[in-house]
């Protein structure tokens, strides 16, 4: 019998055997696919987010300088900028104003920022898509704010950021410097932090060390540290991901352990009968190989494909309750699908291969026993 035909007969037989225990095997495939789905979803989501963060934050400030007072962030005097400007390698220092505003009406936190250039002038703001959605406002509407004195003021919405930029601007409100200062009661001559331009990347850690020495109450953060923060974001060691991965890993170990520790009496009997009617040990092992292969391949392919649809077509809606937390403004995670063949291959070798091997080992142990002995037990 030609090899391919033989394999097809074996697959026919294996499928018939699996269909005889339809309920058990369907449940097995569903749970197995679910484990792969969770693992693949986490993998796709974190990988896409990390890659997008690396690309988008490549334009982040080269050095940010914060001031600390009694272990807490404090406003930084703009005079610090003059001292820093004299450090060799620093080509520009600009004060930056930004802060948070809790809106009691919508129960949402906004990030207010004064950009270097704000074309709309006093009384106007530019808002992110998340702010527009939560406040149900559109261009030319007004948005009310409570000032630090408890007085109500309002700003006209001049522009709304596109929904494509939600990952950086969902809760953002751009405002003019005079409006920002009057809203929060900030005196002239102070800023939230300083932003430095240091063109030579090699000089940045040196400049940061010089700033720390010159102004000991400051904390410089260089761009590499920003990028590293997002590179380690959602890595396998971080919080809930470890719980998810550990849960999925344990579930998988239970599967494999269940298979590897032995066959049911019915399966042993089946092997005994097959041996008794003339099947070779190699045929039995091949049949069991196909059994493991059919279950694990079906689960792997459906799990991975569903995970791809989940993360990149439905904006990871199943992760939403976890990611949203108590936040009112929640960016829609329309991620760019950065899929790595290496990750898919790793997932394949971590799920399909061990399960298939775990199916073969007990079958081999049963198949090498005398059929008469197997049938009598």
């Amino acid at each position: 019998m030609p090899g391919f035909q033989k394999q097809k007969y074996l697959i026919d037989f294996t499928l018939s055997a699996l269909l005889r225990r339809k309920g058990k095997n369907t449940a097995l495939v569903l749970v197995y696919a679910l484990v792969v789905f969770v693992l693949a979803s986490v993998l796709f989501f974190t990988q896409a987010l990390r890659r997008e963060a690396a690309l988008v934050l490549a334009g982040a400030p080269e050095i940010v300088v914060q001031r600390l007072t009694a272990g807490r962030h404090d406003l930084i005097p703009e005079s610090y900028a003059d001292a820093i400007r004299n450090i060799r390698g620093v080509s520009d220092v600009s004060p930056r104003l930004w802060g948070y505003y809790y809106d009691p009406v919508f129960g949402a936190n906004f990030t207010l920022l004064v950009p270097q250039e704000f074309p709309y002038g006093r009384g106007n703001i530019v808002i992110g898509q998340g702010v527009a959605e939560v406040s149900r406002s559109s261009i030319d509407n007004i948005l009310p704010f409570w000032t630090h004195e408890g007085r109500l003021t309002s700003f006209k919405i001049a522009e709304i950021f596109s929904s494509d930029s939600q990952l950086i601007s969902a809760d953002l409100i751009l405002i003019s410097e005079p409006d920002f200062r009057s809203l929060f009661g900030l005196a002239e001559g102070v800023a939230t932090n300083l932003v430095l331009t240091v063109k030579n990347a090699k000089e940045r850690p040196i400049v940061a060390a010089k700033i720390k020495k010159l102004l000991p109450d400051t904390r410089p953060i260089i761009r590499d540290e920003i990028l590293r923060t997002y590179d380690s974001l959602f890595n396998w060691r971080s919080g809930i991901l470890l719980v998810v991965l550990a849960g999925a890993g344990l579930a998988f170990i239970i599967f494999a352990w269940d298979k590897a520790t032995g066959l049911s009496a019915e399966e042993r009997r089946e092997i005994g009968i097959l041996k008794a009617i003339g099947w070779e040990t190699s045929d039995v092992i091949l049949m069991k190989f196909w059994e493991g292969g059919i279950i694990s391949l079906t689960s792997f392919l459906s799990g991975v494909l569903l995970a791809y649809v989940h993360v990149f077509f439905t904006s990871s809606f199943l992760f939403e309750p976890v990611l949203k937390g108590w936040a009112v403004i929640y960016p829609e995670f329309k991620l760019v699908p950065f899929v790595d063949a290496f990750h898919i291959a790793t997932l394949f070798f971590l799920t399909v291969v061990p399960y298939t091997l775990a199916t073969i080992v007990p079958a081999w142990r049963a198949a090498i026993v005398d059929p008469d002995a197997v049938l009598r037990t």
Partner: protein
């Protein structure tokens, strides 16, 4: 149709979809390239340091700008209580050698 043929057809379809997934990924990346560049430009123009992943707490909205004590500073004996705090690791520049 034989069961084996049906199964092999399904597996072939599955692998074709897997290959299609990579094609879709490559095309979507190409399509998104200009949008990513625009976002990077926006980040550079506004001097942003963080992605807007979580808006519930300061230290998860801007993890780069946060301190080790930020999650615990709300009141004495305060414990870290925002769900997103369980998702994010502490930025390495706060804990690594030479951290602040």
């Amino acid at each position: 149709m034989r069961k084996a043929d049906f199964f092999l057809a399904c597996i072939a379809l599955g692998f074709s979809l897997l290959a299609l997934m990579f094609v879709h990924s490559a095309l979507a990346r190409r399509e998104a390239a200009s949008n990513l560049r625009a976002k990077a430009k926006m980040v550079a123009k506004m001097g942003l340091t963080d992605l807007c992943l979580f808006t519930e707490a300061r230290y998860t909205r801007h993890p780069v700008m946060a301190d080790l004590n930020t999650p615990f500073q709300d009141y004495p004996m305060s414990i870290e209580h925002y769900p997103s705090g369980a998702l994010l690791p502490v930025p390495r520049h706060l804990t690594g050698k030479g951290g602040y």
